[in-house]
Amino acid sequence: MVPASGEGSRGASRAAIAAFLVPALVIYAGFTFYPVLRTFYNSVHLFKGRNVEEFVGARNFLDILTQDPVFWKAVGNTATFTIVGTVADVLGGLLLALCLFTGTSLSRAMRVIWFTPVLMSYVVVGIIWVWLYDYDWGLINVLLRWIGLGTFEQSWLGDPHTALWAVLVTHLWKWLGFNMIVCLAALHALPGEVLGAAELDNCGWLAKLVYIIIPMLWPTLINLLVLSFIGKMMLFDLVWIMTGGGPLWSTETVSTYVYKRAFDWNTFDLGYPSAIAVLWSAMIVLFVALMTRLLRSRDRLEF
């Protein structure tokens, strides 16, 4: 059959299209769509032993919101981690990119090394940092003692006041390289004459950053903010590996709490943790939508 008009062989038999798409759709239906539906179903049920479920309506949700102090503690920790971490992540990545952008001959090799932590698993990164934070022989306390600041030595992961921040530093260490590379790519895509003109106007580097670079990179920065936000709101691996949520719930995140309620509490109730997961996912979607709306509406510099 000769295809009509000039658009070429863009058509295919239904059988061929089905054959190409069905495997993907089956996997999606069985391992993504059905589990999501089932999580919603679980969230309004109470599990009483195997295969015995009782419909409880919104009770799980009410219990979570009104009488679960650990949940609110986890929300507080996750919120702190997310807000501070997201800003630090994107700003830090941008500053690192600017350092490399000015270009030394070593820049290329350096960015490869800076990106390495991004590729390593949370298990590797987490264990390395548990050791670096070790009270007796961890590098951080060793360095503090060596420069005579031994009074500041800490059990970094063992003290409820420092544990969350210690995990945050590790998380930043892992992800800064990612943000740096993305900002660097965006910087290289900028028209050179804009930065050159700023140079001629002799404006200081801070003014250049605030008035020229940040506005011009804004679309990229929004992307990074959203990605970093989502990653931190769902933080599980690193906390689980480094502290398990302790000490005294000081690093408990919503995700680690969901896992504990589902598998560590021996209640075999998947309903309650599913309700938390539904609630928290809704929060994430809501905030992402809000962020993109608010941030995108800002005046953008055209070039």
Partner: protein, 276 residues
């Protein structure tokens, strides 16, 4: 301006760059050194060079510390999932990018929606479902879950690339009497190889490092993947720092090899979604 003055002005920047390089790269070198030292040596002085190097620790880790089992479990699951997701994803991407048909946009929207769904929304019921079908605590079950987690990203990357291939190629192939499947297998895949390769390496690294799905879907020691195996070993041998370090090196080794060979591809691939 005199050249030396210029250098002097840039000195703080260069010092900072070198410092940050040490901060990111240093810990890995430290682990590499510890991997070749025995635990008593490390406890005596954690920050020393591996002299003499104990290469036999790798043999010990491999045999007596069960890392061989964990390594092969990881390899089976990750290789299986990567092959499957590449094939299934490429077929879907070829279809979505090449053919016009009713429901194209809908099918694309459905498959790509997998990228924005938080894993927490699926993981608990995935545990239930795999339990029901006898796939809980099996490598096959974990493999299928992994295919599902990586499908959306794979289709996204491949579709973008396949859509740019010139239509003339496909028209010519059809003139020559190629069937739709032959077009996919003998035109799209070979020409799209750079993109296919990127997804293969990316998926391999992401799944090799994966922890959340594995810890929920696997509890038997004989089925543990490397990240779980190391965590388990750490739990029971907290103080055997030397052997844990050797395990970390074993788990990092495939990634180090891939990164050494394809650093630019990897950096581009990992960040492609965020660059705008």
């Amino acid at each position: 301006m005199a050249l030396w003055l210029d250098y002097l002005r840039r000195a703080p920047l260069v010092v900072f760059l070198l410092l940050y390089t040490v901060i990111t790269g240093g810990p890995f070198l430290w682990v590499a050194a510890m991997a070749l030292r025995t635990t008593p040596e490390i406890l005596d002085n954690p920050y020393a060079l591996p002299i003499p190097p104990h290469w036999d620790k790798f043999v010990e880790a491999w045999t007596t510390s069960r890392y061989e089992i964990y390594f092969f479990n990881s390899l089976i699951v990750v290789a299986g999932a990567v092959v499957l997701v590449t094939l299934i994803g490429a077929m879907a991407a070829h279809c979505l990018s090449r053919y016009r048909f009713r429901g194209n946009r809908l099918a694309r929207m459905i498959i790509l929606s997998g990228m924005i769904l938080p894993p927490q929304l699926m993981i608990l019921s995935l545990f239930q479902i795999l339990l029901q079908f006898g796939l809980y605590n099996t490598l096959a079950g974990l493999t299928l879950a992994y295919v599902a987690t990586q499908l959306a990203m794979t289709v996204y990357i491949l579709e973008g690339f396949f859509a740019q291939l010139p239509q003339d190629l496909f028209d010519a192939a059809r003139m020559d009497g190629y069937s739709d499947f032959e077009i996919f297998w003998r035109i799209t895949l070979p020409i799209g190889l750079p993109a296919v390769f990127t997804t293969v390496v990316l998926n391999f690294i992401i799944l090799w490092n994966e922890f959340l799905y594995a810890i929920v879907l696997i509890t038997e020691d004989d089925k543990r993947t490397l990240p779980l195996g190391i965590m388990h070993f750490m739990g029971s041998h907290q103080l055997d720092v030397g052997m844990i370090a050797t395990g970390l090196m074993i788990s990092m080794s495939p990634i180090i090899v891939l990164y050494a060979l394809f650093s630019e591809t990897l950096i581009k691939g990992m960040t492609a979604g965020a660059v705008r």
